[in-house]
Symmetry: C2
Subunit: 341 residues, 2 copies
DNA sequence: CTGGACCGTGTAAGCGCTTACCCAACACCA
DNA sequence: TGGTGTTGGGTAAGCGCTTACACGGTCCAG
């Protein structure tokens, strides 16, 4: 059996209260006692039981990360930021992928007792978000909003980024620009498509719905959708794609059709996943600082956990257009900072 | 405050023991009692405290996933398999990225009290592995072995896969084949390079060390290393690359040098990450079933947790060559099953 | 009609910590 | 020297569960 606090106390010749005080950095114990206790801890290899500690302090020092799609490159980057920042604050991270399951409410209910707070990714069930909010469990929402619910939220400015991307394509002088959106249910996708329409409008183009298609955010979906666009009698000269994974699929579709990017069709993606600079041609895309948004999410969450009175924040992170080859520019990797909102 | 078991008991007019029994599926309570308790649970929105339960049962129903590099595509796939399988068994998953930190022993020690078992990825500190083993914490090792320690291990057959890949290049008739390995410390990389050498030997080639270079498993490292190879007075006609990320970087380097894959240099990667079929040319590579190995890891771990007497297993998963374009074959996506070990 | 077997519930003792509260010891000042 | 502070350390009461054991009813065989 693992040693308990009693074993340590006995060995050090003190009471368990003193051991606890030493371990929790109370200023009371004298240096001599402290040394004795620490020595006992070391020789016994004592490790305080997390469960007992949680129970006594009613805190778990753990946060949950609930995400629809654990395996997208986007998520990977996010998880890195979150994990590192959580560790910095001495919190553990429990992950929970949704993998397209419904009935999240029931599925996740028991989680709330294992963690002090949660970070919820985009496609979370709205009902579930409301349940959490009612329970008073601290959480932060990433990439989406829930109408009429005051919760802290982190999103990147998808409108701004998409607007800049489409405007860039317009400036290139491409006569017809299509959009390849994500799932119709995705809030972010809708925002990006709205920006697309707005940019066209602002430049005096009429945006014909014929030019908006949807896919599932994956490479294969992007590839299929792009193939569809190319099969049109008069295919678009450029396409704004709502995420990089689909853009990479689109690249493949263009190649399959025996055409060139950007020569025949120019492409712009969204997210700036690492692979965007390794495909050929390299992908012009809109960068969001995923890693940083993960860090920020943890900071806001922990602030909320430690002080429930913290006010709700709604963070809108800036995005910026990263110009590479697929849009038709010659120069590569020119970072083109965006003017603020 | 959240309701406790006492609240439920009071409301249902029974003792807490009965509530506990109902909640834990004991056969004792009568249907009537059961209904009353369940009704009380529902109206109160009662949720048993995980901490208290852990303490009483001395089990956490949680496993930890400790990995050096949370952000590689490889890991992403693995995490999916692990997470899903863990959920199936009603276990939670705590993730812990190492991010190249040293002193893991101290860093991770406190983890052992939060979990019932661990899945350890390749570059884990050997000292740490030994500590865990001494403590008797169940764990499974992925992708590496520790000399003289009988622990259950899951690896894919890197030798077999690499051997097949290099043999394939040889059959293509390429007169000179180089190898681009991972970090020199990586066990898997060493195994793959050994297979490379062996394959050359077996076909009567002398393997000159000049043709082995190392990089860091990332795209950028692969790109730089490949650039180095291409700058040689007599560059290799083909390169076996120890993972796909580096192979993708290598692809880029070849393009930068104004040459063609596979026309001027043929390339074979390892892992079959999703992106391997989306780069251009598509990457011939060695497939390991990462997702499945994650599932398997969880199964073995849980078996160990639930029955500490389970015997140690050493699993060697098969790999197979996936032939695409980068090796110089015409046909695409032909799956070429390997003969067993 | 009584003794034992059986069975649903309740009682209470943990699980391993934290922490409010109390006490003894000592220092200090009047 | 006695009273008052101050302070390190001990005592014990939880935290919210699980579960061994005790207990009081039923039921049926003798």
């Amino acid at each position: 059996m693992r040693p308990t606090i009693y074993d340590v106390a006995e060995r050090a010749g003190v009471s368990i209260a003193t051991v606890s005080r030493v371990l929790n950095g109370s200023p009371k114990p004298t240096a001599a006692t402290r040394d004795r206790v620490l020595a006992a801890v070391r020789t016994l290899g004592y490790q305080p039981s997390a469960a007992a500690r949680c129970l006594a302090r009613s805190t778990t020092e753990t946060i949950a990360l609930v995400f629809p799609e654990v395996s997208s490159p986007f998520f990977v980057e996010l998880i890195r930021g979150i994990e590192l920042e959580a560790r910095r604050h001495h919190y553990h991270v429990l992950i929970y992928g949704l993998h397209g399951e419904g009935k999240q409410d029931q599925l996740l209910r028991f989680l709330s007792t294992k963690v002090d707070g949660m970070i919820l990714g985009a496609q979370c069930d709205e009902a579930y978000v409301r349940t959490l909010h009612r329970q008073g469990l601290p959480f932060v929402l990433m990439g989406r909003r829930v109408e009429g619910l005051a919760v802290t939220t982190i999103r990147s400015n998808g409108f701004e980024g998409a607007y800049a991307a489409v405007t860039h394509l317009i400036r290139h002088g491409y006569g017809s620009i299509a959009a390849l959106g994500g799932p119709e249910a995705s809030q972010q996708s809708r925002i990006r498509l709205r920006a697309y329409a707005q940019a066209l409008d602002d430049h005096g183009w009429h945006s014909d719905v014929r030019w908006i298609v949807h896919a599932d955010y994956h490479e294969s979906g992007g590839q299929a959708a792009m193939a569809g666009l190319l099969a049109l009698p008069r295919p678009p000269r450029a396409v704004f794609v709502a995420n990089d994974q689909m853009a990479i699929g689109a690249l493949e579709a263009v190649r399959d059709a025996g055409k060139q990017v950007p020569g025949d069709v120019a492409l712009v993606g969204f997210d700036d996943i690492p692979m965007a600079s390794y495909v050929h041609p390299t992908l012009t895309t809109v960068r969001q600082d995923i890693y940083e948004s993960g860090e920020l999410a943890v900071q806001l969450l922990i602030r909320q956990i430690e002080d429930p009175a913290t006010s709700v924040e709604t963070i809108l992170l800036p995005t910026r257009l990263v110009i590479r080859q697929s849009c038709g520019c010659d120069e590569r990797e020119v970072h083109h900072p965006n003017s603020g909102v």
